[in-house]
Amino acid sequence: MIEIKNIYKSFDQKEVLKNISMVFNQGETNLIIGRSGSGKTVLLKSIVGLHEVDSGHIFYDNRDFTLMKAKFRKKLRQEMGMVFQGGALFDSMTVEENVRFPLDMFSTLSFAEKQKQVDFCLERVNISDSNKLSPSEISGGMKKRVAIARAIVMNPKYLFCDEPNSGLDPETSMVIDELVHSITVDLKITTIINTHDMNSVMEIGDNILFISEGEMCWEGNRKEILQTENQQLQEFVFANKQYQKIRDDKIKE
């Protein structure tokens, strides 16, 4: 479980996050949604410590990350996996080497054991036939899958995904969503996903935080979002008529 309490963050006196608090549950797909520029990525990067918060606290299973010394933070980060927007795969390594990298760096396993774990993760994301290719030789969707495989190879307790569906076609987006959701449930990890993809919201949003202009506007789940009376959220989610229809159909069900 990850809990954030009264998070404030500003850049050059511009307040980007204002008093955000939320509990992200274990074994659930937690979504942070909001318009572009609303502060989603800053919030996610603040949670993982890539940005230092101005004030507030972040707890990882009751361990206060904000007060932790660098040495302990580094240790805690070995329990995290993150999927970046562009995949952030290492260009100089093959798919297999990318996934094996955290094991090479931190584990004491033998090469055969590491390989077994890498093969298992690549199979988990259905990409086991591309392990010798370099990142420049695979598609955007495959890059995301490799990034997911790399993020779960150390059996993390916390998984973070920054817009995992950006730049992907709807079908591949659904595959990625289902993959992340099933990994979250199977491995009982705490997953936080940044997204503005409404398909993701409707399909895998167990716990949703909506932020607008750096402020927390709404929290709930995918069922509650259909009945929300929050004006800003309605404008964001149901801007497209297709989603209005989905809402109406789901309500009828």
Binding site: M80, D91, M154
Partner: protein, 245 residues
Amino acid sequence: MHIFNQTGRYFALLLRVFSRPEKYSLYIKQTFSEIDNLGVKSVGIVAIISVFMGGIMTLQVAYNMTNPLLPTTLIGLGNRDSLILEFSSTIMGLIMAGKIGSNITSEIGSMKVTEQIDSLEIMGVNSASYLILPKIIAVVLMFPFLYILSVFFGLIGGMIVGPAVGAVSVTDYLNGIQSSFTPYYVTFSLIKCLVFGFLIASISAFFGYTVEGGAFDVGSASTRAVVNTNILILVWDLILTQLLF
């Protein structure tokens, strides 16, 4: 104020670079890979530039020796000492700042703007140390070797060009490069090479690691890295010449 800010950030980065590695074996592997990439792959350009540099120096010394009483062996001697003292260390340092330095800045800068460095940090890896330390070790280790190669190829260049244009015979040239040799000149230049190697790798890495934005900014950072490294190489050349002579 900007220069103090940048200097402070540079030393703060160096503190992170020289912290304890997570896994020595991986760093050693990375260092060998950088030795190949930054050092061994520079041998070709060093050889070509040095042959021409030696040839041109030989011609310049020969054409400026207008007094017929001066022995032609001085042509080889002049070429040798110029190469050992300045050309193969300082001039090669400036050239390597362009070749190796821009390579380091663009590689690390690209990793920064594509979030690969963030990705390392999230894994719990000290990205500054993992990416920069092997490069610094590789360049500092390889630069003295490149210097020695440069002197060798420069002398070969002189031996080809001098006799080819009739400025000096091969025998006089060979006698010249063997006469009045001062071993300390080599020691002095090797010390300079170690300092220049460190400057090239660390300054270029700093500009790459601190880049913000996109591809355009990586290009600008590479240019700034080369310019700043060149200036600092010349400043340190002056300081070391004053200190060590």
